[in-house]
């Protein structure tokens, strides 16, 4: 029985792989639920800050913060690329990178330079090797998004925008639709368009302390940070569900491979027994 032992070893090894993928699937499933909760927890803040920003932009048409002034003919644009740190999550990163790469090629073809801010190890590694000009990055975000880790890289991009090094800022990440469906999107962060804020309800004005300008400045910076934070939170939920689906597929696949190997194993075993029997019978007949 030549192949028997080898096939048994092979089956064992596939079974071990299946154990790992199944464990990863379950881990991803539990992390996904938490990631979704966090994604939802961030929404009230984003909603509120958007309302206040909308109100301000209507109440103070005379003060134009650089963030709300549209610039004609952008010469350079900035892109915040949100990806995961770890792999084994299906086509999540590949899809988002393909989308932004397509955009970047379009920009380059029309003579617009691109500066990148990479959040997440996969995107950073990719952009680095692609020779893109990466201004800032953050990796090792872990399973919980922390605003603290984003402040630095985000400020680098905001500074670049204020200094006129970039004329627009975009973000690309994977939007979480449901467990089975996530889609890569590219959205514009800066300049802030009037319609993205929505219209303000009612007409009144606030008192500002110490003065309107400072308060608006603080508010708008936080607004952009919140949008980026939300994108990161959503990307994490997408990452976990994408990983869960990918690992489920891998476990199923391993199951199929095991079934096939078992069939082959039994066939060779059967063949060996038959052969042995016929040899005995032939031997007995010879006597």
């Amino acid at each position: 029985m030549a192949g028997g032992k080898e096939i048994r070893t092979k089956i064992k090894s596939v079974q071990n792989t299946q154990k790992i993928t199944r464990a990863m699937e379950m881990v991803a499933a539990s992390k996904m639920r938490k990631a979704q909760d966090r994604m939802r927890a961030a929404r009230p803040y984003a909603e509120k800050i958007r309302n206040v920003a909308a109100h301000l932009s209507h109440a103070h048409p005379e003060y134009r913060h650089p963030f709300v002034v549209a610039r004609a003919e952008p010469k350079r644009v900035g892109v915040v690329v949100v990806t995961s740190d770890k792999g084994l999550c299906g086509g999540l990163n590949t899809n988002v990178l393909r989308m932004i790469l397509h955009k970047m090629k379009e920009w380059e073809a029309s003579g617009v330079g691109v500066n990148v801010c990479a959040l997440g190890g996969k995107g950073f590694g990719f952009m680095q090797r692609a020779g893109a000009s990466v201004l800032a990055h953050q990796t090792g975000l872990g399973d919980t998004p922390h605003l603290e880790k984003l402040i630095g890289p985000v400020k680098v991009m905001l500074d670049a925008y204020i200094d006129g090094k970039i004329d627009a800022l975009h973000i690309c990440y994977t939007r979480f639709i449901n467990t089975m469906k996530q889609e890569p999107v590219v959205e514009q962060l800066l300049p802030i368009s009037g319609e993205s804020l929505g219209s303000a309800k009612g007409h009144w004005d606030y008192l500002y302390e110490p003065d309107a300008k400072q308060v608006i400045d603080e508010l708008l910076v936080r607004y952009i940070e919140t949008l980026i934070y939300q994108a990161v939170a959503e990307n994490m939920a997408s990452e976990q569900s994408s990983r869960m689906v990918a690992m489920k597929a891998a476990s199923d696949n391993a199951g199929n491979v095991i079934d096939e190997l078992k069939l082959i194993y039994n066939k060779t075993r059967q063949a060996a027994i038959t052969k042995e029997l016929s040899e005995i019978v032939a031997g007995a007949a010879a006597v």
Binding site: R38, A41, A42, P44, Y45, A46, K48, I49, V52, L56, G90, G91, T94, N95, L97, R98, L101, K105, E108, F124, G125, F126, Q128, R129, A130, G131, A132, V134, L135, A136, H137, Q138, P145, H146, L147, E148, I151, G152, P153, K155, V156, D159, D205, Y206, L207, Y208, E209, P210, Q214, V215, E218, L219, R222, E225, T226, Y229, A249, D252, N253, N256
Partner: protein, 148 residues
């Protein structure tokens, strides 16, 4: 005093941060550490927008209790019946923000000078397409297997 006026003597307080919803409820009086000094807020306060420094928010709830919430900073929005505190989760100051940005710049420059590169977008694109082809092949394989 009628029931109506009594109702208007409470206000709704929402304390939210980017990472979580911290507090939400009715209050009769709130005191907050604003940038220009401590502010006491009663119902029907003038609309006001300011930012906070680190400190304690004291809430006198409508059932007579006192709640303390620590904030490390943030924005305060007052409307006559609704007060919203957009709390920061991190300690914020121009100097620490700048330090964080400088650190991010330095780390990126350092990392950028190290790794090997494809050198151009086209090569990167080719590599991506290969990865995508591999993935879709796997998916096709998976579909065929499960149909059996």
């Amino acid at each position: 005093m009628t029931a109506h006026t009594h109702e208007s003597l409470t206000l709704t307080l929402n304390v939210v941060s980017a990472e979580a919803e911290i507090y939400s409820g009715k209050a009769t009086k709130i005191s907050v550490p604003a940038q220009m000094g401590e502010i006491g807020i009663m119902p029907r306060h003038t609309p006001l927008l300011t930012y906070l420094r680190a400190g304690e928010v004291r809430v006198h709830t409508s059932d007579g209790k006192q709640v303390l919430i620590y904030v490390s900073g943030g924005l305060l929005e007052i409307q006559p019946q609704i007060v919203t505190i957009l709390a920061d989760t991190a300690t914020r100051a121009a100097s620490t923000d700048k330090a964080a940005a400088d650190e991010a710049r330095r780390l990126t420059e350092e990392a950028m000078s190290k790794l090997e590169r494809f050198g151009s977008l086209d090569i990167a694109h080719a590599e991506l397409m290969a990865a995508i082809a591999e993935l879709s092949e796997l998916q096709r394989l998976h579909k065929r297997k499960t149909r059996w």
